[in-house]
């Protein structure tokens, strides 16, 4: 007698069980795939929002929109105020014409409309680049206050507030996603448990015979447990494939549009670790479902 032969029998029986209850197995795998796909979508959104936060944080800048007809002297004075704070790295002067060109480049579908306007609606601005550590500097609120109070300034736009809000949104999505993931994994586990339980019912004659002839309990329960694991694994692999397909479709669709949002927002797929986490989630749900189903009460 060999362990390899027993293991082969276990795998063979697990497969036979899944095939025998193929409709239920298919329904179960699809349910698992959809549930894990939904968790994957949440993770994908969180991942990209987080990426966006990181990207924007590395390019922190203060944009100061100037009042129409601001003189060169007033603009130079504003630059001096900014430089005196010692927080500003470089300064960019954006003319209304440059602003219009930039808009037309970023939003290609609207470029015609922007170009067709008789007057240029884009204001003149100054962009002050800040090093990443400047965001946490105590002198920053003072600089913003001075800039806002300057006579040439119409409006001051500072990314940090937006980043803070974005980070808050990421946190909310992440918490909601985690809660959803737990609920869905438990739901998946119960789906698998019910399918395995029905498979056990289909195999009750075999189980009775195996018990009566003294087959080891591990080998009686093993195929059902393995069946649950296989359902979890196949379901999560299918979910990953769906997620990958959906992501590729989005990138492809985006590349065909003039704005190419995917490239603009720097969209990226789930990192390998997160994808592995999804697989592990499916396997965990399969194991849980299998364990629930093969309790002695169900096999008696």
């Amino acid at each position: 007698m060999s362990a390899a032969a027993a293991l082969a029998a276990l795998v063979e029986e697990a497969w036979a069980g899944l095939v025998r209850a193929r409709r239920m197995t298919t329904a179960s795998v699809l349910t698992i795939a959809i549930s894990i796909f939904l968790v994957g979508v949440f993770l994908l959104v969180v991942e990209n929002l987080r990426g966006l936060v990181e990207t924007v944080r590395g390019e922190t800048s203060v944009t100061v929109f100037l009042k129409p007809g601001t003189s060169a002297d007033a603009r130079e004075d504003l630059e001096r105020v900014a430089r005196d704070s010692r927080l500003v790295g470089s300064v960019r002067h954006v003319t209304p014409e440059e602003a219009r060109t930039r808009f037309a480049t970023w939003w290609r579908s609207l470029s015609t409309a922007a170009g067709a306007m008789a007057t240029n609606p884009f204001p003149e601005s100054l962009e002050f680049d800040l090093p990443p550590d400047a965001v946490r500097s105590a002198a920053l609120p003072g600089l913003l206050k001075n800039l806002t109070a300057h006579r040439a300034v119409e409006e001051v736009q500072f990314d940090v507030e937006w980043i803070r809000r974005l980070r808050g949104a990421v946190g909310i999505v992440q918490t909601g996603g985690s809660a959803l993931a737990v609920i869905l994994v438990l739901g998946v586990a119960f789906t698998i448990a019910n399918v395995v339980r029905l498979t056990i019912l289909l195999h009750r004659d075999e189980i009775e015979i195996l018990r009566l002839v003294g087959a080891p309990e591990l080998l009686i329960r093993g195929p059902f447990l393995l069946g649950g694991l296989v359902q979890g694994l196949v379901g999560s692999l299918l979910a990953l494939a769906l997620l990958g397909g959906a992501y590729r479709a989005l990138v492809w669709w985006s590349s065909r549009s003039q704005e190419n949002l995917a490239s603009l927002l720097g969209l990226r797929f789930l990192p390998a670790g997160t994808a592995a986490l999804l697989l592990a989630g499916g396997l965990l749900a399969g194991l849980l479902g299998g364990l629930i189903a093969v309790r002695r009460r169900n096999l008696a």
Binding site: A6, D205, V213
Partner: protein
């Protein structure tokens, strides 16, 4: 091989077996007989630990069955073969698969499984029907497949519950002949049956159960004529 000491079994307050004491020696062929509801099946189920006694001690193959933990039950059952009146064959599997099904789970290699299955199916003369399914077989053939399955793990003890119950006289004779052959090969055989003709013809040792008590004799001839039908045998008729 089997030892029962003052064994009692009850279901929901109703005593099915009372103070049952007997021994079956290694290599013996013993009938367990009695009217329907006498407790034959319960007694056999106690032997392979499908039930636990409420009182007394049971030793099978040197193992204390009554005190045995659940985890050791498979070890006990692997040392014996069990045959049921309703055959308990798997309808979706062929004759060969039915016979080898258990071996597969015991880690026996495919080649060895096939070899052993062929050997026992040859013994029961069904080696030409390896790929047939149970529904394609007659009752006698199905019982022979069940017998082959019980023998395939080379048990030291064969327990059969009404193995001829669903068979006509001729097929019953064939199955009994097979059981006798198996016994000649060294396997201890215990057969529960209510068929008095089968018991009488065999001339084997017979344990008669009557209202949960055991009466022992050599086939039916050694028992008092009224023993099998009397309500509640007197204590004096019980033998250890």
């Amino acid at each position: 091989m089997i030892e029962f000491y003052r064994v009692a079994k009850e279901y929901q307050g109703r005593r099915v077996l009372k103070d049952v004491t007997f021994q079956v020696k290694k290599g013996e062929f013993v009938f367990l007989t009695g009217p329907s509801g006498a407790g034959k099946t319960t007694l056999l189920r106690l032997v392979f630990r499908a039930e636990r006694p409420n009182d007394g001690q049971i030793i099978v193959n040197g193992l204390n069955v009554s005190a045995m933990p659940v985890s050791r039950v498979p070890v006990l059952r692997r040392s014996m073969g069990i045959v049921f009146q309703d055959y308990k064959l798997l309808p979706t599997r062929s004759v060969l698969e039915n016979v080898t099904y258990v071996l597969k789970f015991l880690g026996v290699s495919p080649a060895e499984r096939r070899r052993r299955a062929y050997q026992v199916l040859r013994l029961v003369e069904l080696h030409h029907r390896l790929s047939a399914f149970p529904e394609e077989l007659s009752g006698g053939e199905q019982q022979r497949v069940a017998l082959a399955r019980a023998l395939v793990n080379d048990p030291t003890l064969l327990v059969a519950d009404e193995p001829t119950g669903n068979l006509d006289h001729r097929l019953a004779g064939e199955v009994m002949k097979l059981l006798a052959e198996i016994n000649v090969r060294g396997t201890t055989v215990v057969v529960a049956t209510h068929d008095q003709d089968v018991v009488k013809q065999s001339g084997r040792r017979c344990l008669t159960l009557d209202r949960g008590r055991i009466l022992e004799g050599l086939a039916e001839a050694a028992l008092p004529p009224q023993a099998a039908t009397k309500q509640g045998a007197p204590d004096a008729e019980q033998r250890p």
